[in-house]
Each structure stands twice: as C-alpha cells, then as structure tokens.
Symmetry: C2
DNA sequence: GTTTATGCAAAACCTTTGCATTTTG
DNA sequence: CAAAATGCAAAGGTTTTGCATAAAC
C-alpha cells in the first residue's frame, strides 16, 4: 500500500516546510531519510529505514536515522506505532476496553464503551483478516501536560 | 484505577485456569507475577512488575518476569500495548487513518474511515484531557496467519 | 522420578551519547 | 564563517539465552 507519487510529493513538501519552519537544516541525509519514510507504505522500524537509505548514501549511520526520526516526531511530521520509546508495557485487563493516551508524557488511561466495543467493521477491513477486537485510542494532552507551557 | 478485589479474584482464576488448561506449571513465581499484573490498574512494564514481585519473592529474577509475561501473552491472558515486541515503528502517514493489526505476525494495515475520524468523545474521556485524534485499531488474524495451523 | 521452570550471568539487541569532522545557511 | 548535523565508536538500557539447580506434577 505504497502512497501514489503525488502523495509522496505532498509528504516531501510537508517535511521540507516543517524543517524550514522550525529552522533545522535540510541536509542530504535528512532529505533521503524523509524520502524513504515518505514513500513507505508499511510501518518501518529504524533498521529498515537505515537499510533503504544506505543504498543511496552508503555512509549514512543508524544514529542519524534515529535522530532524524525523533526530530520528525517532535515536529509532528510523523507518528510512532507501539510503545512510548522502547519499553513494552502489559495490560492485564482482558475485558474489552479503550485508551486515552497522552502524546507528551505517555500516560495511558483506560475507559469503557459498549458503543466502541461493537464498531461496525468496514468491508475493506474484513478483507484483510478476521477481526477479534476493536480498540479505540484517543490521543491528546492530559490535564497535567496541558498545564505546562507549550514549547512552540 | 485499580480493579476491585472481586475483579482481581476473577482475573487470578482466569490466569490459573489458563495455566492448567495448557498444562504449564503453577509455580510460586508465576502466581505472584500474575497477582501483581492482575492487581495493577496502570500498564506496567517488566521492570515495574519485577520491582513489585521482588517485595514478596526477593530472589525472583527479571528474566522470569519476562518469560511469564510472554507466556501470558501467548495464552491470550494479557495484551501488550504497542503492536509488536519491542521495536519502535514509524508512520509517515500523517493524514487521519486507522489500523488493522495482526496479533500473530504483527502486520499492520492502514485504512481510512470518515466515520472513525469523528467518533463522539465520551464525557469521562473529555475529563482526562484534550483529545486531538481518534484512532481505531481492529485486532485479529490476517489472512496469511489464519491459514497456518493453530498451535493449540 | 521426570519434566519443566528458575536464577544467574553473559550475550544479544536496540537506542543514545560524546566528540572530532564535515556540511549547511 | 558560525552554527548545526554527521559518523564513528563506545556506552546505556532492555530483553533473551544457556545451563546447572530447584521445584512442580
């Protein structure tokens, strides 16, 4: 499910705009990393991005990939899937429930909703496999983080 | 948001049943680990569980905690937050979208839905903070994994 | 008693950091 | 040119593994 060429173009512009806007330098490496991430249809990890970029810039290093990805994340130009930076967390609550996640501090709060437990599954999702559970995640800032001054 | 005592009891029974059913041994350590996880209202990482359990079994080791958690996961008695074991993955798709996640192989597939983009936010969630985005995740087995024989 | 799980220590793995060098604006 | 970013190598943190000992069935 790779993005169409126009979509990639749009993403690249968005990345470049974001960089300029925040005054960070548009280096060769960063642009190539953005290009790789932007054209990926799956959800690559740092290693995968590193491998791809290395085809074009053989001297690029893995830590530059990480630095660039966290930069993109801080600028709100990408999101991450999975655990808040590294650690796996476990959920003992096997009854169906949903989460509010603070994008800043990583706080996760459970909530329950009959309605969300039984969301209608779209046809194109049914085609992907058998759905066992629906899980809704609301992302935003928790009260505590809202109070702190924003950095922008 | 710790579970009520009855709920903890229910969870413990569920854990024990699951263990017996699959023929793994009900060791002292495993039961204590289950107890700690079961009574946790937040979403602890391995280290946090380890620290708690060590108060009761000072000689317990961190790797036993990990082994037990993965066992619980394999038996479907807990879930993890974040799709796959450990690695951070990045998502270049900044337009609002949702995911189908295969709980077995970790495959993640994007899909779009106007409806899910604008889910009504429950009152108790509003009280937690400001919601910026809604994200729906359907979990199940992808076609490929459904075809493979189940291990049970 | 046999099989399975544990604890330890060491390894493997993923991510970050410090610093000299290079590149960007 | 000044400020910021890169690459390298080494460190930091998390998770896994091998193996002898101990515990469960």
């Amino acid at each position: 499910m790779k993005p169409a060429p126009e979509e990639l173009q749009r993403r690249m512009n968005h990345f470049k705009e974001g960089f300029k806007h925040s005054g960070v330098k548009l280096t060769h490496q960063r642009l190539e990393i953005c290009h790789e991430v932007g054209k990926s249809g799956d959800h690559p990890d740092a290693e995968a991005i590193y491998r791809s970029v290395r085809k074009r810039i053989p001297t690029v290093s893995l830590d530059t990939v990480y630095r660039t990805m966290w930069l993109l994340l801080d600028l709100g130009l990408i999101t991450t899937l999975g655990p808040h930076r590294g650690r796996v967390r476990f959920d003992a609550n096997i009854s169906s429930h949903h989460h509010f996640v603070c994008t800043k501090c990583g706080l996760i709060h459970d909530f329950y909703s009959e309605e969300f437990d039984h969301l209608k599954i779209p046809g194109d999702v049914k085609a992907l496999g058998s759905v066992e559970k629906a899980h809704v995640e609301f992302r935003g800032l928790c009260l505590r983080c809202s109070k702190k001054k924003r950095k922008t």
